[in-house]
Subunit: 286 residues, 2 copies
């Protein structure tokens, strides 16, 4: 099922940017959009819609917008002035192929265009579109993802407490992952209590995702990951593993897993797609 969503979604992505103003800019955006990501965020959105008994296709524009935003953030994150990474998902990073100026513009373009994806989707009513745009702008903006990236940059200068580390990741990766769940709630026109429940589930998914990332940075290898591993330890960066130990991080992830499964089971509907996805995130090897 997850694979079907991924295929549906990737076919949709390929249809974007059909009429270029500039060919190079479009190539640069499509290079990173189609670089073989896991599509975790879109699939989270589609799976949550399935649980809420809404046709996942109704989430296509929002999933696209979120993936465009996620992709822009990776392009900018990889820049020499930021993480200075040469590889991402086993391929050269955007600026290594197209140069820094184009990479900056490709990121800016994906981010800017993402909002029109939602605002022009007439299968959603006006109120839904406004709710979704507000949520995504805030989750991705300076009180969300961008703010979290800033906290992350500062964190490199000092050792963090567990609470400080959680704060970094709650914003840097958590807010946009959480937004996938709440967006599904908006699309399915759910009442406030369900939205709150979805937000709680999303927050835990974000945390689990990050803890697993930190574990993989220790246990993974370049071939599986498609990017440099062990970089956290080399950079003396605070991670869940450095603060809790490898076993401690795995235990924390399992505790969150249990909580999340309970929260999911309290929602009405077929929980299987979302439960499967949670297990995939926890057991993934890249």
């Amino acid at each position: 099922m997850k694979q079907n969503y991924k295929t549906l979604f990737e076919n949709h992505l390929k249809s974007l940017y059909a009429k270029p103003l500039d060919q190079t800019l479009d190539e640069a955006m499509m290079y990173s959009l189609l670089a073989g990501g896991k599509r975790i965020r879109p699939v989270l959105l589609f799976s949550t819609l399935e649980l809420l008994q809404v046709d996942p296709k109704k989430g296509l524009s929002v999933a696209t917008a979120i993936e465009m935003i996620h992709t822009y953030s990776l392009i900018h994150d990889d820049l020499p002035a930021m993480d200075d990474d040469d590889y991402r998902r086993g391929k050269l990073t955007n600026h290594k192929v197209f140069g820094e100026a184009v990479a900056i513009l490709a990121g800016d373009g994906l981010l800017t265009d993402s909002f029109a994806q939602i605002s022009k989707d007439e299968s959603l009513n006006l109120e839904q579109r406004i709710q979704l745009i507000t949520l995504i702008s805030e989750a991705a903006g300076t009180r969300g993802m961008v703010g979290g990236q800033m906290l992350d940059i500062k964190a490199e200068e000092s050792e963090l407490t567990l609470e400080e580390l959680k704060r970094v990741h709650r914003h840097k990766t958590g807010d946009l992952i959480k937004a996938c769940f709440v967006c599904a709630g908006f699309i399915a026109e759910q009442p406030t209590d369900v939205l709150k429940q979805l937000s709680e589930i999303g927050q835990r998914f974000g945390l689990i995702f990050q803890i697993k990332d930190d574990i993989l940075d220790v246990e993974g290898n370049f071939e599986q990951m498609g990017k440099a591993v062990g970089s956290d330890e080399n950079n003396a960066k605070s991670t869940y593993v450095s603060l809790l130990g490898l076993e401690g991080a795995k235990e924390a992830m399992q505790t969150l897993n249990k909580e999340t499964l309970e929260l999911i089971s309290s929602l009405n509907g077929d929980h299987s797609a979302l439960n499967d996805l949670l297990q995939y995130i926890i057991s993934r090897e890249k």
Copy 2:
């Protein structure tokens, strides 16, 4: 009158970012937002609203969003990988003060946050907010401003024809300036024919603005401009002056001025604020 709008607007800008997630990021954004720009775009929007007999305050959120987008584009444009400028408006550029990583994030943050400015403005109805977000996302995105910046980068490699130069500027600076006029039309709930008229006026304003910029690059000086002048000639960059000559560029600007005044006079309302603004743009010395 123009000065009043500017003061109203700047007081509003100062109220943004009152609750920082990260102090440095907010400082970096505010540094560039409050760096003493001319506020041409907000004042164009307010003046058009005045002509259309709508309280200019109703355009505050949209003016803020557009100025945030304009500001982000300057921050990214000044980066070493782009134009590599040290000064802007007589002050050090963002990355010279805060470093490249923060400047990239400050730009990303301003851009992302700009959409929530509009989506959360309850003084506009849902349809207006969706129209405005679509228009601004498209005017600033890869088919608008970002695409134009890409064309501009490529243009540095070759000599342009007048038509090619117009195409660069129609997108790079023109689309967002034109959007100010059409946004005012949406806020004032104007019919299609007036929206079309506003778009025609906006397109000419954008062109006039750019021709004047090219003239100032030849005739201005650092003290007035607050940035390096003569840079176009040093870079052998195609400009209206290089293609038409200084007198030819001035004539083209006067022809457009006449056309624009006629278009403005065909709209119902008090034309003085917009006419004054046009004369200000044409006669400005920085």
